[in-house]
Symmetry: D2
Subunit: 344 residues, 4 copies
């Protein structure tokens, strides 16, 4: 096995910082050697705080550094295609946050670059690494529920992003539901072939989303190539918790993933029994972010493909695009791409 | 208050028998004086078993009997319109199983007959009387979750009816989802104004449903006049339990109705923790069937309207018809009826 | 099977009234023909309300009435011995509320009278009929947890009775813990052979209990003839709910009985998830009170012994007496009675 | 704040290795500079694996090394007194696994040494750092349940240690129940003043414990100086899971700590709903072991006392000794030590 993977993180926003922190202190076989952020001073600050030897404002310093094995791309989505392509051309192994790219054309470009340069690419669908989803995958593959026939997903967040973010987010299907599209493919082990989407603005305060043809609540219904089906409910306005649920119904049973319970503490009073709910996505998926990075480094050390590649990234993108189109046209959209690798 | 409501049950299938049994022994102020069933010998058998004084094969014997105050109609849906009309014309108070009638035209007819003859009519949407749904209604009205903005329903049954039943069932939207349509209106306190439906046959063994343009799994998405929305997932093929869930998301919280747990018993072994699931609808809604009949008798004794009338019956029917149309056309259907009374 | 059991209820306090109501309207094969209460007018009032044909202030009117088959004794414990003996001598079948009698000597007397007159006697340990405990019994007998090795009981009530009641209650072990002693024997299928008890007054407001050598919180530890053991925690001061839990640990697993959850409704807000708790014993054991009476009537109609006889009544009494003695002396008390029938 | 605490781990069994691993990679402000184990080659092996600069078979190499600030003592209990005393005399800050020492006399000795040398000492009662217990502590202090009046603890492990371990374990009260004694004091914020204990050997296969006057199941009942009380059930033979539960009843409510659920995954089949149980103590308390070490290092860097000192270590020891005595004599044991600091 390779000794240590010399890694750089590009983009030091919240997620980038997490990845950097995890790489520094919690992942065996990883060595964080450089951090990059365009913001004046940000890279240096993080480097000093985490004890990283190099920092830069310019990604080129990474791409051209022969001592660096792998890059973790956490820059804005609009830059992903460029970053991935340059990383690939320089022989760097790649981890990129979801979504893979902004457009399907870009996705095809980066897939080409990745293949031509023979590098590995893992896309940040961290739910696959969440212990509950991972356990569900294992159980489904073990046949505990028979053959999967229905996927049901709920993703509700109460944290409405500011208008500026919504404007550039690509819409609720691409920005939020994409996690469920990926996990649906993964858990079902099947490809989505048709999509019907709809949605609405439920909160007065989100009326501004109309300008961007976006909504604060959406529903996607889809079918799989096997004849199975599924639905995904997506909400930006849950007032009570960060509420992520998954379920796969099979011919012999059903598997439910996720509880909203936070602490293993119940308070019983004459008003009833109370327990806390998971307040936000860092609380819910902190472990998953660590575990996906562990997997990235492990795969590189072992020289094997990660369970979540650029092909999965493109598949999710294609589904999200179809969902968006269905929402805008009111029509069911057929998907006829055959993805070469449905990762298991 | 009126002393005792002299009641007759028309139709002695499983549900009719339950109603008869409840009326005989468990409902204060009710007196079951007659039972009717067209099947040779059935009425007499039930009458003897339950100690009911009269029986007949002919509904006319009820309608023309001046000592009878109220009828409980549990005959096939195709006969509802006729039964209700005749009951109304003979001044009988009416309880009728859902759906109110087979068609919207029939619904209009029976509403007319009910009004002209000034009788009361309760439709058998028993979920409104289920203790959990009733408590949820109370909590929502108390403002515990703020203003309702989303309804979510799941109704899964594993008991696929025989082809002969499916053929005459009116389809999954009318036969199964109608319970959720009613409870959605009831809990949200709002009228549904647009509907998008879709569905699929997920089990090979149900392919015969294609002949009837029916499916074993359906999804309905709808919006309310207030701008709220909701979705209902309906399944005839749940392999694990009778699984009925409801949820109302409000601006300040969410309320979830129903657990699938059967006994308050957990068995812990090295294989994990196990508890039984509710196996079927009698187990789940037994109490609700009793409580709706208690409400029927109570309303009559007090001379007040029941919480679930022929208007609610027609509303649910109209929604189910729209859902069916959307499923068949792939289009969103607008509903523009204004129901006079949204029962609270 | 016997047509109908002509029954009388003696004592029309809360429990007596419930039994009367159940016998009138909810139990097949039962006929409530008379009610008795020493309080002027009480019996007549109840008889008129429930439509019972006879009433009296004098139990003799029941004992001497040849048309009466069975009596349900819900009079004060101090009168049980006398009531049971007279009922037995007059050939009446007997249901008696727990405890069987006030003293062990009285218990021996009534057992003698019951045997000599060849009548049946069921003691009101209604937990045996609670659906959760009954299911647990079934599971244990099916071998789901292997051989039972430990019983754990919690009984917490928040409803501190008035001093006058405490004074005559016989103490917390006899008045409250006795239900757990019985259910421990029943679920374990084993006899208790040694007892160590202790307890304390935890609430300042209950200091008056000292006068009666009583406590508001008690703990009993005991061993069974098989070498198994168990503990029971008893509390009169639970501020949050009526909290009854049972557990049997076996060599291959454990079975837990009872949840405190009331409605199947959860309210989720930013303050967390809330559900109601069972507020009081009528709510928790309403069904069990009905089911034990169904069993009483059924046993009589079928001419079989009930699952909970005077022998079980005496066993529980003996255990409670030993627990009280251990509490007062600080010593472990051995029990060497061999009960003839451990009911299963 | 102090830059980094240069730390050494003494004893590299399972727990010692965990602490070493945590200190190397997961704790900010800690630097693991040396590991010691008497077993030939063990220290070197661990040092090489974790990248620790020094190793030794001899604790003296640590005590005499001026560059080392703190020691983590995970050696056998019989050596604790000696190790702590030598560490203290050499000015090392101390973390020691529970129990503090083997005897109360030793406890007094080490407390003296700690005080005279003015070093800090944290005892490894890791439950205080478990997120659920910590949250409960916070809630209790916030007054969520009023004034605490009852503590209830259950600790069940199914992993019966070999006879050689039992022989030297000090017995079930000292070896197992001690965690509950500590957490009872901590959560209640009160001192235990009297103890009644009992226990039995429930499994035939554990009869060998008789030789050591030990049992595989024990019950402790105790009272606090405030008049509150509590009970702790301890079991070495749970066949189904690692089952740790805590509860504090207060005058206005109750707080329950811990669920046995492992993954947030439920599998629903016609056999019911199943979820996994926590299999063992590493799974249950992994985080707590990390968090207690974080606290140790943090306290040292900030120069403040840890929340769990040698005084708490002695208190738990004294309670365990009293429990053992009560078990052996069948008498209630009074405790009259006044511990100076009840840590909050």
């Amino acid at each position: 096995m390779k000794e240590a993977i010399r890694t750089a993180v590009l983009g030091l926003g919240r997620l980038g910082y997490w990845h950097a922190e995890n790489l520094v202190s919690k992942i065996k076989g990883a060595q964080l050697v450089s951090v990059v952020d365009p913001l004046e001073g940000r890279a240096e600050q993080v480097a000093r705080e985490l004890g990283v030897e190099k920092w830069s404002q310019n990604p080129n310093d990474i791409f051209e550094d022969d001592t660096i094995d792998a890059v973790v791309i956490v820059t804005p989505t609009s830059t992903h295609a460029d970053m991935i392509t340059r990383a690939a051309k320089n022989g760097k192994q790649i981890f990129v946050e979801k979504p893979l790219t902004h457009t399907l054309d870009e996705a095809d470009e980066v897939i080409k670059a990745i293949n031509e340069n023979n590098v590995s690419c893992q896309v940040g669908f961290m739910r696959r690494f969440d212990p509950a989803y991972a356990e569900a995958k294992k159980r489904i593959e073990a046949g505990d529920i028979g053959k999967p026939i229905y996927f049901k997903g709920v993703s509700r967040d109460g944290n409405v992003p500011p208008e500026e973010f919504i404007k550039h987010s690509g819409g609720i299907f691409l920005d939020v539901a994409i996690h469920d599209y990926d996990i649906a493919r993964y858990l079902m082990g099947q490809e989505i072939v048709s999509i019907t989407s709809t949605g609405n603005i439920l909160m007065e305060s989100n009326k501004f989303m109309e300008k961007y043809n976006d909504v604060d609540q959406a529903m996607t219904y889809f079918t799989f190539d096997s004849g199975a089906a599924g639905d995904i409910e997506t909400m930006r306005i849950a007032p009570y918790a960060y509420d992520i649920r998954g379920e796969v119904v099979g011919t012999e049973g059903s598997i439910q993933i996720g509880s909203m319970r936070y602490n293993d503490v119940k308070v019983l009073t004459s008003k009833g029994s109370q327990h806390d709910l998971i307040p936000d996505f860092p609380t819910r998926f902190k472990d998953a972010y660590l575990l996906e990075m562990v997997h990235f480094i492990d795969s590189l050390r072992k020289g094997v493909k990660p369970i979540c590649t650029e092909i999965d990234g493109k598949a999710a993108l294609e589904i999200a695009a179809a969902a968006t189109k269905s929402f805008k046209t009111g029509k069911t959209i057929e998907l006829n791409s055959k993805f070469l690798t449905l990762q298991n």
